[in-house]
Amino acid sequence: MLLFRSEEHARSWRDARGFMGARTLSLETGWRLARAWYARKLEPDWRRHTIEEAEALFADLGLSGDFWRLR
């Protein structure tokens, strides 16, 4: 995932490379996603999210639709 100065710059990048299905996120949603995904990574009892958990996590952040499906 990359950073862009604006939606216009993100669109320019994806158009130039043919990633027409790319999705942008606000920084606030990205921060919430990072905290939900990685908060426990350094903990001894960490484990990977199951597919169901990951999709539920996306849904909680309003990330829905085919782009966010894992199966």
């Binding site: 995932m1 950073l3 862009f4 604006s6 710059h9 996120l25 996603l33 990072a34 499906r69």
Partner: protein
């Protein structure tokens, strides 16, 4: 003694994973295979086997063609385009999501520094503090690939 010396791979892999996390917390750096082997008092070949299993399980990413860590996500093992200041240390990450994830995993605020990936390449700074995010107006993150394809090229995603 080779990888066959590991009698309980699940328990050994957990020890290796926890040891990597301890190195990151204590030293502020992703460890080498040799450092992990030293800490868990196991032959390097056994730790290499564990690294390969953990990478296959998507716990971490190895440098192509090696058994050295590229990233114990979100913590990258070397210089990248994404730098993070968090918990009093400097870190690097493979992507913007991981850069945010460094502060998340350390349970601290952070300052992420990178560049616009478009041709302008303008430097960008994002401040993460509690629930708040500070940056130039309009800055966004972008996933190039859909979620189901992320691990086909986790560095690029």
């Amino acid at each position: 003694m080779g990888a066959a010396g590991v009698t309980d791979p699940t328990a050994f892999d957990r020890d290796v994973r926890v040891t990597i996390a301890e190195c990151i917390r204590e030293r502020g750096a992703v460890p080498s295979l040799a450092e992990v082997a030293d800490r868990v008092a196991a032959p390097a070949a056994d730790v290499a086997g564990s690294f390969e299993r953990l990478a296959a399980a998507r716990v971490m990413v190895l440098r192509p063609g090696t058994t050295e860590l590229l990233s114990f996500n979100p913590f990258a093992a070397g210089p990248t385009d994404f730098r993070v200041r968090s918990a009093g240390r400097e870190w690097t990450a493979l992507c913007a999501w991981d850069a945010f994830g460094v502060a998340a995993a350390l349970k601290d605020d952070g300052v992420v520094r990178g560049h616009c990936a478009d041709t302008c390449g303008v430097p960008l700074e994002v401040r993460l503090a509690g629930d708040a995010v500070g940056a130039l107006d309009g800055v966004v993150m972008q996933f190039a690939l859909p979620a189901r394809d992320w691990w086909k090229d986790i560095v690029f995603t």
